[in-house]
């Protein structure tokens, strides 16, 4: 202890050792090299702590501040030992020197301990290239993130644009729909209505706010609408149809039709959707059509009654013709016959000629009446359509006609196409056409009659062609008229009813009659029977 006490008492004493210059043999160079080196180390060691301190002060965020301070202190202390070492050449304060070294040693070890303690985090600390690489990496990552963000933003922008466009599209569609579309919440309060919805009742948006929509519904139809809404609420997503009358501001009650659909559970819509349209025009048109139909039916009934009355009248008429006209005619004929039979001797030639003319004409009138009655009866007769063997009908008709003839006639008959028709009536047609053909070719040297048939998709066409006197096509319109004759009675006898009868029978079958001819070059008469003829067909 005494030594330690003695040590500190003589700390600055220079008396116990010679100055270093005098200790040993120092050449000038050796001594000054030592001194200068020590002074330079000291100067450097003295500067370094200031630089460190300056660094620490400037970079106050620097890590390990304490370590820096320790470094500063340790370097400073080292510097001091070197300075004292240099000083020792002149002032041999060995004790002070050892103290300085001891202090330096303490600080150095403290530093060593601190360094060891901080070594792991010192290891963790990156070097500058590492840091730069790290920074570059981070920069790159940041860049990538930034780019991705940009891309994301762009995508979002595009999607937003798309959604906006879609929304705009649907909004435009709904906004411009001709149908009135209204959305209502569960309490039946309006959420949205398109233009047509306002137009439907003839009101502007402002006017529509004045009255609740339900007050515009016809009182008789309000229950229909309520029921429809109730039904719609019970059946989500299923549109329920309704037709009601709505009060239009200018036009009064109009008919509207449409659906109520419960989309309350649909998160996008969340409403009752009313989709209605004005069908007044359709309803009015329907009403008109119905009225027209009723009118038409009434008219048909009226006409039928008139027609039936006319038919009755005609029946009455034909009855009179049949009985009342025939009877006197018979009597005239009968008495003329009596005159002829009983008083022939008292009449001269002229008297007999006159009497013959009377009898001839009464007979002719009788024929006229009979054919007229026939015509009327054919008109009234209902068709009995069944398969008819045209060949058989024609052959028997020809036989019948030939038996009435004295002259020979050549017939050329081709195989005829069969058709369904009223055979009894069609026989009259053949009979008339064939007898006409015989009659009008009777003045030819070699009468030749050709009978043929032909068909198209809908009808069978029959024809009777003769090589007789024919007719002038300019009178064709008179050919089928009642009592119309193209030849005088002296040349060709006839009543003028035959072709009218032919036409009546054929048109009753739904067919057509026509003729072709030229004067003195024969004539061809055609008639057609539709293939699809039904029973009881009336024309």
């Amino acid at each position: 202890m005494n030594q330690v006490f003695e040590y500190f008492r003589k700390l600055f004493s220079t008396s116990d050792w010679p100055a270093r210059w005098h200790c040993g043999k120092w050449s000038e160079f050796e001594g000054w090299l030592y001194i200068v080196s020590d002074i330079m180390i000291w100067a450097a060691y003295f500067a370094i702590p200031f630089i460190i301190l300056r660094y620490v002060v400037r970079k106050n965020n620097a890590y390990y501040v304490k370590l820096y301070y320790l470094f500063a202190a340790f370097i400073l202390a080292c510097g001091i030992t070197h300075f004292i070492d240099a000083m020792m050449f002149w002032i041999p304060v060995y004790r002070l020197n050892s103290l300085a070294k001891f202090v330096t040693a303490i600080i150095s070890w403290v530093t060593v301990v601190a360094l060891i303690k901080f070594l792991p985090s010192a290891f963790a600390t990156k070097t500058i290239p590492e840091l730069e690489a790290e920074i570059q990496r981070r920069k790159n990552a940041e860049e990538a993130v930034r780019r991705m963000n940009e891309e994301l933003e762009q995508i979002i922008e595009e999607k937003t644009q798309e959604i906006r466009l879609t929304e705009f599209k649907f909004k435009s569609i709904i906004e411009n729909s001709a149908d009135a579309i209204s959305l209502m919440n569960g309490n039946l309060e309006g959420i949205y209505s398109n233009k047509s919805a306002f137009e439907l009742s003839g009101r502007t948006e402002e006017e529509s706010k004045e009255a609740h929509w339900s007050t515009l519904v016809h009182p008789d139809d309000i229950d229909i609408l309520k029921d429809t809404i109730a039904k719609a609420i019970k059946t989500p997503r299923k549109p329920q149809r309704a037709e009601i009358r709505l009060y239009h501001k200018q036009r009064g009650y109009i008919n509207i039709e449409g659906t109520v659909c419960n989309l309350l559970e649909n998160t996008a819509v969340h409403a009752l959707v009313f989709n209605f349209r004005d069908i007044t025009k359709i309803r009015t048109a329907e009403l008109e059509v119905r009225q027209l139909n009723e009118n038409l039916e009434r008219k048909i009934i009226e006409r039928t009654i008139q027609l039936e009355a006319a038919n009755k009248e005609l029946e009455g008429f034909s009855y009179s013709v049949s009985h009342d006209l025939r009877a006197p005619l018979r009597i005239i004929n009968g008495y003329a016959d009596m005159l002829h039979a009983d008083y022939k001797k008292e009449l001269n030639v002229e008297g007999i000629r006159l009497l013959d003319i009377i009898m001839y004409n009464t007979r002719h009138m009788g024929k006229l009446i009979d054919s007229l009655l026939n015509l009327a009866r054919m008109g009234r007769k209902e068709l009995t359509v069944q398969y008819a063997d045209m060949n058989a009908i024609v052959i028997s008709t020809i036989k019948e006609q030939i038996s009435l003839q004295t002259r020979s006639v050549t017939f050329e008959t081709n195989e005829l196409i069969a058709v369904n028709c009223d055979g009894v009536l069609i026989r009259h047609v053949w009979s008339n056409l064939i007898s006409n053909a015989i009659k009008y070719s009777s003045k030819k040297d070699n009468p030749h009659i050709t009978i043929n048939s032909n068909e198209n998709a809908t009808e069978v066409i029959y024809s009777v062609k003769d090589n007789g006197v024919g007719f002038d096509m300019k009178y064709i319109h008179k050919l089928f008229g009642v009592f119309q004759r193209l030849h005088n009675k002296a040349d060709f006898d006839g009543t003028g009813v035959g072709l009218a009868l032919v036409q009546r029978i054929v048109t009753k079958h739904g067919g057509r009659v026509w003729a072709e001819g030229a004067e003195n070059e024969g004539a061809t008469f055609y008639f057609s029977i539709p293939k699809s003829i039904q029973n009881e067909q009336q024309y």
């Binding site: 009855y319 009985h323 025939r326 018979r330 009968g334 009596m338 007979r363 024929k367």
Partner: protein, 150 residues
Amino acid sequence: MNNNIEILLIEDNPHEAELAIRSLKKNNIANNIVHIDDGADALDYIMGKGKYKEVSKSNVNRLILLDLNLPKVDGLEILKQVKSNKDTCMTPVVVLTSSKEEKDMIESYRLGVNSYIVKPVNFESFSKAIAELKIYWLLLNQWPPINHKY
């Protein structure tokens, strides 16, 4: 020829009647011809009623030639009564008419007419028809026994 057969002509038009009778005679029909020009009278005659009460209705075979268009009681009514009466239903009735009306013919056959002749306008044809009538009813036809009780 069965000359015991009485021919009853029911015809309101005297001219028609004359022509018919002449035709019958021309055809050498010598039978008794009775002409009545009124429907009601004719029925009385056939049934032996009214002013014809005295005329026996059952002691003679009779052929009725009937016109349809008659005053008071028309021909179809007479036909109906004759054919629905058990005493007269076997009497042959021939309708002789000017009418070509189909419904008259159908109705007549429905009521049981024995023959239906439409008188032709032509007298010669009419005469021919009467001749045929004679051949059938007076020469060929077998009559039921007189006084036959049904």
